[in-house]
Amino acid sequence: MAGGGLVLGFSWLASCKDEAAVEATLAMPDEWFEINGFLKIGNNGVVTAMSPNPEIGQNVKTAMPMIVADELDVDWNNVIVEQAPLNTDIFTRQLAGGSQSIRQGWNSLRMAGATARQMLKQAAADAWQVPVAEITTAAGVLSHKASGKSAGYGDMAAAASKLEVPEEVKLKEIEEFTIIGTDRKNVDGKDIVMGKPLFGLDVQKEGMLIAMIVHPPAFGMTFKSADLESVKTMQGIKDAFHIVVYPEGAERQWSDGGAIPEMVAIVGESTWQCLQAKKALKAEWEAPDKLESTSDHDKGLAELLAKAPKEPARRDGNPEKAFAGAARVIERTFSAPYLAHNCMEPMNFYAHVTPDKAELLGPTQTPEFLENTLASVLEMPKEKIDIMMTRMGGGFGRRLYSTFAVEAAMISKKMQAPVKLVYTREDDMSQGTYRPSYMVTYRAALDEAGKLLAWHVRAAGTNDGGVFENRFPAGALDNYLAESHMLPTQVTTGAWRAPRSNFLAGAENAFLDEVAEAAGKDPIDFRLELFDRAINDPVGDPEKNDYDPKRYAGVLKLVREKANWDAGTPSGKGRGVSAYYCHNSYVAQVLDLHMDRNEPRVDKIWCAVDCGIVINPLSARNQIEGGIVDGIGHVTYSALTFQNGKPEQTNFDRYRLIRHAEAPKEIETFFVDNGIDPTGLGEPSLPPISGALANAMYRATGTRYYHQPFVGSKQDQRVIG
């Protein structure tokens, strides 16, 4: 298993690494020894740790190796991190999605480090002829107290690499962690600020051509014809052709969501030349009888909300009776538009397909699924397909659907040349797997004393059902009814950071605020009373309720204390609270704002988070801050609308994203320290913040905000860059 030199045969990234900078701080070993798929140790003790999962900005490339390195018991400054390629023999779930990388990787990452440490100990015990149990480790050094012997990991790496990997090994106690739970900077930080080639769009290869696509301009349309000859003669253009990306009978899976089976491909020497040809291309498209507009979607959702579905998603007690006998019923409807993902790095992928082999390199959140699809469309065994991941200029769910990589592969196959497919921003925004549009109606029944008697939620979404029926307040009151509708549409949708939660959390928390006000109660007290019920006398099977009411209440109490909630809102400010559970984590937020004309300006946010053990607090806070800014931005400003199947916003001139001056001035994050195994972090801070924002805007303006985006109408989105 020993290898000489940098054993990084797959590594485009390594070749782009700033070796000089690494060498300035770390002496490269003469020889590397592979201990297991996650780890190589050099003869001088330098460690290479593989980061198995795709990096989309959630910082797993730092956090995952930190876990391995801690169990290995080395000095973090002695660790080099490499992005692993797709390798299903070694790694499981190489996927960036659902905020699950750390949660689901936790045990295997710890085991990788701990087994390697045990093998090093065994090698030392063999060399020194002492019992392995007497060997201790610290910061990459093996010691045997009784004999006074010690050695660096590098000295034992060769012998350790030849040992069997132990099946069982003792993991560290939490108190023994030296890296987990400490602030560690982004391992790619220096390369990022220096503008090194890290991203898919930065890939340059010998003989590589640029490819662009022209896809149908409206959802529902399909390819009819194109005047390919006229663009083929343009300067720098190598070819232009109609291409079937998904041949008939090709296997499709969820990660092919949003796939457009047929389009036009243009291949040339440079991006600018392809872009000119793309603009010049005259193509005709088949239109179906009906092309959808936003007004159709809104009407369809509203019609669904007006009626009960055949079966409820969950029904506890007798909600109808409770509503009939209530002293007061509050009913409110909330809505949200489609959203585009708008990763700053538009979709792209490098592919080189030959009859014997397919090499792909680029930004995908789902390399394993991509491999399955490629095997089908290329009719090639998986063993002949290599997929490597670049760092990604954002993901947010968009790159779960790697149809652009499939397009790149099919274009490369046709061209018999390496190609880099580049989407323009307009391609990216108009060929999306969008956040669905949603509508939800909540009803609450109160008795004379302001006690919540019944709760009814009925939601509808485009291509998506609309409720999480077993989440709060299910289980916290006797009479509960959750109903869900789905409106099938031509517009393609998919996971967008915190799917469904990104709408429901805000709507639910805004409604709770209004109900608490009607009940004459403090909004935190009102929620805590419900949690008390769920803790002490849960309704229904407690296992079925998809949250732990103690942890939920815990973050609310923590944020109440940190924000000094009970002292009341500072004068001139509006203050709102919100809390939500998703991706296995609990978040509660208090937000202070003032209004600047009709726009909210957020002065401060306090955010309490229970995600179990925090691997890297420095970047964990960054994720929380980012989710909050992302949430505030989209709920305040963003919308994607359609007219006859065409997106009305195709670039940032009409699609408004939050900018620096509109961002919160200060965000303070507090993690609950409870030693529970880590849970999701990349998504959970986003969903509730729109509730805190809406509630604070109500306090500042006297107006309740039910329909997103809160600022600007859907027709008036033009902004100046």
Partner: protein, 155 residues
Amino acid sequence: MARFNLNINGTQREVDVDPSTPLLWVLRENLNLVGTKYGCGIAICGSCNVHVNGTVVRSCSMPVSTVGKQEITTIEGLSENGDHPVQEAWLEEDVPQCGYCQTGQIMTAAALLKQNPNPSDSEIEMAMSGNLCRCGTYVRIKKAVKRAAESQSNS
């Protein structure tokens, strides 16, 4: 196609391209300076920001034919070893998430501090509002700009 002699990061570089080609694509594809990023192509997002004679310019919307003898500085030319005070402050604050927009942010911040070594919060907000960050790192960007301003004034 036409030949252009460009002054890029203090070095004369010759390229043979269509005169309408934006500076962005010349940098990225002809000169292999990929730290300047493509984000929108219509001068809205700031990912492609470079300095032209010390002033921030959107390279996606500047045809190469209009560059002439002007001095172009890209992120690769901001410092040789990534130790410009703004880059150091970015690392110190651990600003990046995905990292894609950050070179554009850094170029804007560096130009701001050159012109205004001690900007107020609102001056930072105004100057940095031309750069989109989809990950939402604005809070840290502001801290990093302030840190860079402090470190420059102390040196």
